[in-house]
Structure formats: structure tokens, C-alpha cells
């Protein structure tokens, strides 16, 4: 059998090497290599899907690495990681298509994006704790250089904040990983073994869970660890923001499911209500702060805090429920929400970036009536914004519906309070649409060009996915459900 998983994982890395190592690679060639490499990864991801993803870890590829410590190169997919693999492959391809006109150090730009893509895929695919940590950290380094190298004026500072914050988060993670390793009998870093027989109990499990919560809470981000996010988004380039919000934040929520929930299930169950309340607060807080923004990009960035809060809430509700429909509803919704948020927020950041390219500003008040002069951009934004506020028939609806249904079954008051978040989000998006695209058109934007071919190539796939996931989430949910229904506890 062809090792599709590893091929997909290393294709971008190979592409990066091809761009960096030979001297004098032109910018065009670099982008061509980048598009081919990430395109191949998307093909591999589709191939993995066609082979069939079972309920447990399937298509596992294993190579011995540090046998004396029980660490190995182990990769594979299940119903939780596979949707995220698809999401990663799509978003990186789209981000590279959008970046095709970057003229500032294009070689390094493409190489870093490809490195980041491999790192993200690796983190989702790893079935070994050490391997996961390796990819998780490489992520950090690559994203740091992407923000610091190609962002706006304050990028150095934002990149530094991002790096310090997330490293501070990943080190507790290391501690938790070591705790799991030392607790397992025989000692191993094999995630399958640890998930099948969670090794820790009592205080040790609670402390390990705490380390996971801090580590992944920063990455997700959950209040109060979110302060790096707006700065990083505002200063990062558009493509940087797309992958940061679309893929990197999912590393945090993926960690909540894969590590916190699956490796310390009992401790998570005991602490579920507290985690759920923090998540609900985080969601509300994100929505309220987003409402206060006048900068479109900052607004979208804060809605990420809101949407990620729903994901964590779903995971917590699933952990609290001891079984049955509530549990699977909430967790299915949480996993689907990760995918929905990836494509919807990816699209929103792209559209804001396109607007900024044309106008040189992101201040909502500077615009008005743009729908008349740039109808394609306008309608695309309206579609993505409606998706983000949870309109039925678009990507967020099936996910949020299930999360709220699941949460309602467990903690009705929490679900009720969190629902306010949806109302606020609806309000802020409608206000944004009204200010930017409706009303009177200021004279200075009379000649704003509409989307060009490159823009369409980048945005149309995402808009199509938003609709497809919204209308027919069934097959994706089936895939997720097959794995989540088999979760322990």
C-alpha cells in the first residue's frame, strides 16, 4: 500500500526543501512548487478519505524512532483528525493562491508556509506524543517567522507576543506528556495505548488535565489566554491570518478532544462544569469585544474567540454527559464546528484582506455602499458573514445547533446564557454589512475594482464549501460520529 498519510504529510516539507536549497529559485517558480506541493497534499487527503476512515485509528503508518523510550513515528487518521486534515489542505492551498502576488522574499514566504502546512498536518496526524509535540512546536516557529516577516507595522512585537504566549502554553503540554509517559505501564508515548487505557488517576490526572487546559487554552484561545490573538491577527498578513485562524487555532481545540478528553477522561468529567462555564464566558466575551471593534479584521479575530468558545463548550458538555445522545451530539457538533469555523473565518479574513488591498484601510466607518460598486466582493462577504452568525443552510448552523442541543441536555442555564452570544454575533455582522456594503458610497471608493481572477480562485472554493457543509453535513457528520460514538467513558 502507498503510504498516503506520510506522503501527504511530507509533500509540503519536500516542496519547501526544493525551494530553499537550490540557489536562485525565482518567485514564480517558488509559488509553482508551493501550489503543486500543497495541491498534492490535498489529493493525498482526498485519497485517504476514499480509502475509508474507520471508527478507530486507521491507515496507521509506523516507523521505529526512539525504541528505548517507546517513541516512534506513528501517524494515522480517525474521524476527528480527518476532517481537520482536509481543512488544512484546503486552507493552505487557498492561502497560497491568494498570496501569489507577494513580491517580498517570495522564496522564504512559500517555504515557511509549506513548513507550517507540514507542521499542522503532522500535529493532527501524530499518534505519538513526542511526534505531536515536535510538530506542535515547529508550528510555532514557522508561524512566528510568517507574522514577523510579512505583516504590518507592529508585526515584530505581535510575533514576539505570539511566540512567548504559545511557548508558555506548549511547555505545560510537555509536562503533561511526560506525566502520561511516566504513568503508563509499560512506558510509552503511543497515543493509541494511552487513549485505550488512560494511565493517570486522581490528583495526577487532574494536574495533567490542568496542564492540557492551559496549553490548549492558550492555543485555542480561551479567555483569559486570548490576548495574543487580536494583535497577531491585526499585524499578520492576510494569508497568515487565514491559516492562523483557520488551522492553528484548531490545534488547540483538537487538543481539547484528543488529549484532555481522551487521555484524562475522568478528570475532565469531574471538571467539566467549570470548563464549560469558562468556555461559555469566553464565547460571550469574544462576541461582546467583537461588537466593540471598528476594525473589520479585529472584529473577525474576536469572533474567533467566540466560535472557539462554543467548541470548548461542546467538548465540556460531552465530557459531563455520561453517555447517550447528549454526549455524541455535543462532541459531533464541536468537531464539525472546527471545520466550519476554518472555512468561514478563512473566507472572512480573505475578504477583509481583499478589501484592505483595495482601500488601504479596514476601518468600517471609512466605507459605505460598496455593494453597488463591488457586488461580488459584497455578496461573498455577506454570505460568509451570514454563515459566521449561524444562518441555517450555511456551515456553522449544523455545528452550533448540535453543540447547543448537547449543552442544553446537560446544563440548560449555561446553554441559555451562551445563546446570547449568537444574538450578539448576528448583530455585529449585520452592523458590519450595513456600514460597509449598504448606505451611501463615499466618493473616494467610486473606482474600487471588484474581485479579480486570483481572488475568485481563492474565495470561491471556500464559499462553495460553506454552502456544501451547511446543506449536506451528513457525510462529514457520519464520519465524525463513527469515531466519537466509540469514545471512552
Amino acid at each position: 500500500m502507498v503510504p498516503l498519510v506520510s506522503l501527504g504529510l511530507f509533500a509540503p516539507l519536500l516542496g519547501a526543501a526544493l525551494i530553499v536549497i537550490p540557489p536562485r529559485v525565482s518567485g514564480h517558480l517558488a509559488f509553482a512548487v508551493g501550489l503543486v506541493a500543497s495541491g498534492l497534499t490535498l489529493l493525498a487527503a482526498v485519497g485517504i478519505g476514499l480509502r475509508g476512515v474507520g471508527s478507530g485509528f486507521s491507515q496507521v503508518e509506523e516507523v521505529s524512532w526512539i525504541p528505548s523510550l517507546g517513541a516512534a513515528y506513528r501517524v494515522g487518521v480517525d474521524g476527528i483528525s480527518f476532517p481537520l486534515i482536509l481543512l488544512t489542505a484546503v486552507l493552505f492551498l487557498v492561502a497560497l493562491i491568494f498570496s501569489i502576488r507577494v513580491t517580498q522574499r517570495p522564496r522564504a514566504y512559500v517555504a515557511l508556509f509549506l513548513l507550517l502546512e507540514s507542521a499542522c498536518l503532522g500535529a493532527f496526524l501524530s499518534l505519538d506524543l513526542v511526534l505531536f509535540y515536535v510538530f506542535f512546536e515547529v508550528n510555532l516557529v514557522a508561524m512566528y517567522f510568517i507574522i514577523a516577516g510579512w505583516g504590518h507595522e507592529g508585526r515584530q512585537r505581535a510575533a514576539l507576543t505570539f511566540f512567548l504566549y504559545t511557548l508558555a502554553g506548549s511547555l505545560p503540554l510537555l509536562l503533561a506528556i511526560l506525566a502520561l509517559y511516566l504513568g503508563a505501564h509499560p512506558r510509552t508515548f503511543d497515543m493509541r495505548v494511552i487513549i485505550a487505557h488512560p494511565p493517570l488517576t486522581g490528583v495526577a490526572a487532574s494536574l495533567t488535565l490542568l496542564a492540557f487546559l492551559v496549553g490548549f487554552g492558550i492555543k485555542t484561545p480561551v479567555f483569559p489566554f486570548h490576548t495574543w490573538l487580536p494583535a497577531a491577527h491585526v499585524e499578520a498578513s492576510t494569508a497568515g491570518s487565514v491559516v492562523l485562524a483557520g488551522v492553528l487555532l484548531k490545534l488547540g481545540t483538537y487538543g481539547f478532544v484528543r488529549f484532555a478528553l481522551q487521555m484524562t477522561p475522568q478528570a475532565f468529567h469531574d471538571a467539566a462544569l467549570a470548563i464549560g462555564i469558562v468556555a461559555a464566558f469566553s464565547a460571550l466575551y469574544g462576541a461582546l469585544v467583537a461588537l466593540a471593534q471598528t476594525d473589520l479584521k479585529r472584529m473577525v479575530a474576536y469572533t474567533s474567540v467566540n466560535h472557539m468558545g462554543y467548541v470548548v463548550l461542546g467538548v465540556a458538555a460531552a465530557a459531563a454527559a455520561l453517555g447517550g445522545r447528549t454526549r455524541t451530539l455535543a462532541i459531533d457538533g464541536a468537531v464539525l464546528q472546527m471545520v466550519s469555523h476554518g472555512i468561514v473565518t478563512g473566507a472572512l479574513f480573505l475578504l477583509v484582506g481583499m478589501l484592505e488591498e483595495r482601500a488601504g484601510t479596514r476601518e468600517m466607518q471609512a466605507f459605505g455602499g460598496l455593494l453597488r460598486i463591488t457586488p461580488v466582493l459584497g455578496w461573498a462577504f455577506i454570505l460568509a458573514a451570514f454563515a459566521s452568525l449561524g444562518l441555517p443552510g450555511l456551515a456553522h448552523f449544523p455545528a452550533e445547533f448540535q453543540i447547543f442541543l448537547g449543552t442544553f441536555g446537560e446544563w440548560p442555564p449555561v446553554a441559555a446564557v451562551t445563546l446570547i452570544g449568537i444574538v450578539i454575533t448576528a448583530g455585529l455582522y449585520l452592523r458590519a454589512i450595513q456600514t460597509v456594503f449598504l448606505g451611501t458610497l463615499p466618493d473616494r471608493w467610486q473606482h474600487m475594482p471588484d474581485l479579480n481572477r486570483r481572488d475568485l480562485w481563492a474565495i470561491v472554493p471556500l464559499l462553495a464549501l460553506i454552502v456544501v457543509v451547511g446543506i449536506a453535513p451528513g457525510s462529514l457528520l457520519d464520519l465524525i460520529h463513527r469515531t466519537t460514538s466509540g469514545l471512552l467513558l
Binding site: S64, W65, I66, P67, S68, L69, V130, Y133, V134, E137, V138, L140, V141, F145, A148, G149, Q156, L160, F163, L164, L167, A168, L171, P172, L174, L175, L178, A179, Y181, L182
Partner: protein, 461 residues
């Protein structure tokens, strides 16, 4: 009694061949210098040290003693030879860029080889006398190396180093007499007799910590390090930050492993020293504008991480594995970082835009510094994971947490160098071939040790 065992000189000398080769290398290099052939001295030094490394390879896996139990051929001493001999050779190659053409150039190479005998003696010490001998040999050579430029700065640095070294060595020798008096033996293997004699045991413990802590530049015995590193040639700073430090830590491990089980207070003491060293080293490194001083304080912090492996001794195999892996990782990444400093100069401002003008040198520096932080999949990560794991395994979870918090702090230190690498550009000196050779070797090792850590761990298990 083991000390009474007959000595089989043939066997013992064969087992000691690597250490003897290192000493002879110093002699031969000195001979070449006397004939006014400094180049020959360099290549003889490098060749001799590589031969010593080669001679140590067949000893991997041996666990025995020579000279009636006074010197141990075990995991620590064999790996000390395998790590420190090549590190010394690379330091000698690095030194070429700074001392070429100076008067008595060859003595530097010769002294480097001589001085390495001390750390090698420490790493295999089975007897208190070897501890004293190791500290003294490595100190004498180091003083001369620091003073080599013979300008005011170097002389002052060497003087401080010398005074500090004399006092700490005197304290160590004085304190060790308590152990000798109490046990009636200078053998480390007889230290178990200290059981029940708490005060005497503590007196000797303090002495060992003072003497070896000074060599390893552990807080509060570190005051000499930033001055000595900055006063002497950069290559000597690289050497001092690696070879004597690793030797001293391994020596400390030899002593601590033999202390009686009732005297477990030493673990707490060493753990506290680790905390103070890490924290102070990182905090003091933070405001430095001179990269050699920054790396000096960083090496004080790294010594703190190193101590985690010592604290965990006696609990499973992780402790010794972590010491060896971290020693190798530390040698590679620190040597590489100093090699890059040799090109840019000591001033932090000299790093501006290096990553753009010299992408390979700049990229290598990023790798070395990230490895010092402990970012995977680099060597420093492998070493630190093992150290943290060993400490947690021994029940020192809090110590691992402090070490992790310090790793975050250290990121701020190293980012101060990384960030300007891709900032506004400064004129940069052309690279010397010898410097490029050193950092290239260090770079390959930093990456390979991280990815292929099994090769090392498997041998030590």
C-alpha cells in the same frame, strides 16, 4: 577491601588509552610549538583528540574500574571522552581565527588538550583525589588560556578566575578531609560509611558542591564566568562553557551516586542549586548587550538544567541517559553559537541582518539558539525532555515545572539575538573557513542528535 586489589597495569593502561592519548596530544603539540610549527601543533592536537575519541569507542558499554577502583570506566567517563575530545578539537579549530599569527600560537592548542585531561579525570572519578586532581588540572590550563591575549581585560579576567578558583579549590580540599577522616578512605565507593555521620557528611558535601560548582559555573559559584568568557578569546569562552562544565557535572554525578541513602538531603540541595542557577542565569542574560556575556549567563542557566539529571540519579536509567544526551546536545549547540559569534563580533548590534546577508550562518544561529531553548526536534529538546522526564520520575515534579518556566524565560533571552538577525542590516565580516567548519559540524550534530537521539539513548541504556 577493594582498594587492596592488585593493579594490573597492562589492562588498566589499555582502558585508559583515550585519556592518556589526550595528555600525550598536549605534549606533542607543545613539542611542535617549541619547533615553531604552530600549524603542526594545531593539526596534531586535532588528530590526537580524534584518535582519543576513536579509542574510546570500543569502551562503550564497559563498566569497570582501573587503578584499584580509583578511576571508573563507566557510562559517564566513556561518554565524557566521546563528547569532550571532539569538542576540544573543534574549540582548537575555532581558536585559529583568533590566535593565528600571534606569538606562541601553538601553546593554545596544546593547553586545550592538556586542560581537557582535568574534566576527563572528573567524569570518571572513583576517588576523592581524582576530584581534586581534575579540578586543579582543568583550572591551571584554563587560567592560562583566558590570559592568553595578554591585554588588560584578559589579565583582569584571568586574575579573577584564578583567585576565585584558588579559594574554591582550597575550600573543597579542606572539606574533603572531613570525608577522608570519617570514612578512613578516599574512595567514593566507601562513602556509604558516612551513614549516621550527618554533620561530617554535610561538610564534605558543601566542599564538593563548592569545588565542582565553581568548575561548572553554578550559582552562587559563577561570578568568574562572564568575566573570564568575555576577557579571553571567544574560542576559549566556548571551550570553558562546555568542557570543564560537562566534566564537573559528571564528576558531581559520580560523587552523589555513592552517598548513603539516608543522606538524601543532597537531592534537595542540588535541586535548589539547579533552580537558582537556571533562574539567575536567564534573568542575568536578559539585559546583556554583549553576546559572549549573554551566552555566559545562558551557560549558567544550562548548568542548572543539567543538574536535574544529577538530582534524579539512582532512579532508573533516565537520569544517566539524560546527562549524556544533554551533554552532547549542549556541546554541539553551544559550540555552534560561539562559532557564529566569532564571525559577528561580541556586540549584539553586530547580528543585525545577518540572516539576510549570510542566510546559512544566520539560519544556523537560529537553530543553535532554538535548540538552547529546547525547541523540537533539535538536540536541546531531546536533552531537556530526558532531563525533565528523569526529574519527574524521581519525584521532583516541581523542579521540572521550574525548569519549564525557565525555558520560557530563556526564549526571551535568545529571541533578543534571533530577532535582529532578520532586522536592519549591519556590515558583516567574511566568514573564516575554520569557523564555518566548526559551526557546520555543530549544526549537523544539533539536528541529528535531535532526530536520532535513539543512537545515543540506546547505547546508554
Amino acid at each position: 577491601m577493594s582498594a587492596m586489589r592488585a593493579i594490573d597495569f597492562g589492562r588498566d593502561l589499555a582502558l585508559l588509552a583515550p585519556q592518556i592519548t589526550v595528555a600525550l596530544t598536549g605534549v606533542v603539540a607543545l613539542g611542535a610549538e617549541m619547533l615553531r610549527r604552530p600549524r603542526a601543533a594545531l593539526w596534531l592536537t586535532v588528530a590526537g583528540l580524534l584518535v582519543a575519541t576513536g579509542l574510546a569507542v570500543p569502551l562503550v558499554g564497559r563498566d569497570t574500574t582501573v587503578f584499584a577502583g580509583t578511576y571508573r570506566i563507566d557510562v559517564l567517563s566513556v561518554w565524557a571522552t566521546l563528547i569532550l575530545s571532539p569538542a576540544t578539537a573543534l574549540s582548537a579549530i575555532l581558536a585559529v581565527g583568533e590566535v593565528r599569527g600571534t606569538d606562541r600560537e601553538g601553546t593554545v592548542y596544546s593547553l586545550l588538550a592538556f586542560t581537557t585531561v582535568g574534566p576527563l579525570a572528573l567524569a570518571g572519578a572513583g576517588d576523592l583525589m581524582f576530584l581534586v586532581l581534575g579540578v586543579l588540572i582543568s583550572s591551571l590550563g584554563s587560567f592560562a588560556l583566558v590570559a592568553y591575549p595578554r591585554d588588560d581585560r584578559a589579565t583582569e579576567a584571568a586574575m579573577k578566575y584564578f583567585v576565585f578558583g584558588s579559594v574554591t579549590s582550597a575550600i573543597m580540599i579542606f572539606g574533603l578531609t572531613y570525608w577522608f577522616g570519617a570514612t578512613g578512605s578516599t574512595m567514593l565507593g566507601d562513602l556509604h560509611r558516612l551513614a549516621g555521620m550527618r554533620l561530617v557528611a554535610v561538610a564534605g558535601l558543601v566542599a564538593v558542591l563548592v569545588g565542582l560548582g565553581y568548575k561548572a559555573a553554578i550559582v552562587p559559584f559563577h561570578f568568574w564566568a562572564p568575566d573570564a568568557y568575555d576577557g579571553g578569546p571567544v574560542a576559549v569562552a566556548a571551550y570553558l562553557s562546555i568542557v570543564p562544565k560537562v566534566g564537573a557535572i559528571f564528576g558531581l554525578a559520580q560523587v552523589m551516586a555513592d552517598l548513603p541513602a539516608q543522606l538524601s538531603v543532597w537531592r534537595i540541595v542540588v535541586a535548589l542549586l539547579a533552580v537558582v542557577s537556571m533562574t539567575y542565569g536567564n534573568l542575568a542574560a536578559l539585559p546583556q548587550e554583549n553576546v559572549v556575556r549573554l551566552l555566559a549567563y545562558s551557560s549558567i542557566a544550562q548548568a542548572g538544567y543539567f543538574l536535574l539529571g544529577v538530582v534524579a540519579l539512582g532512579h532508573g536509567t533516565l537520569a544517566v541517559q539524560s546527562l549524556v544526551v544533554f551533554a552532547a546536545a549542549y556541546a554541539a549547540m553551544n559550540l555552534g553559537a560561539f562559532a557564529v559569534v566569532l564571525r559577528t563580533g561580541r556586540d549584539l548590534a553586530g547580528f543585525g541582518g545577518l540572516g539576510r546577508q549570510a542566510p546559512w550562518t544566520g539560519g544556523a544561529m537560529v537553530i543553535f539558539l532554538l535548540s538552547l531553548v529546547g525547541v523540537p526536534p533539535l538536540a536541546g529538546f531531546a536533552g531537556k525532555v530526558l532531563l525533565f522526564g528523569a526529574a519527574m520520575d524521581a519525584g521532583f515534579v516541581w523542579l521540572a515545572i521550574v525548569a519549564i518556566a525557565n525555558s520560557v524565560l530563556s526564549l526571551a533571552v535568545y529571541l533578543r539575538v534571533i530577532v535582529p538577525l532578520y532586522g536592519p542590516t549591519q556590515p558583516v565580516r567574511p566568514a573564516l573557513r575554520t569557523t564555518v567548519l566548526v559551526w557546520s559540524v555543530a549544526l549537523v550534530l544539533t539536528v541529528l542528535l535531535g532526530l536520532g537521539v535513539q543512537a545515543l539513548v540506546g547505547q546508554v541504556a
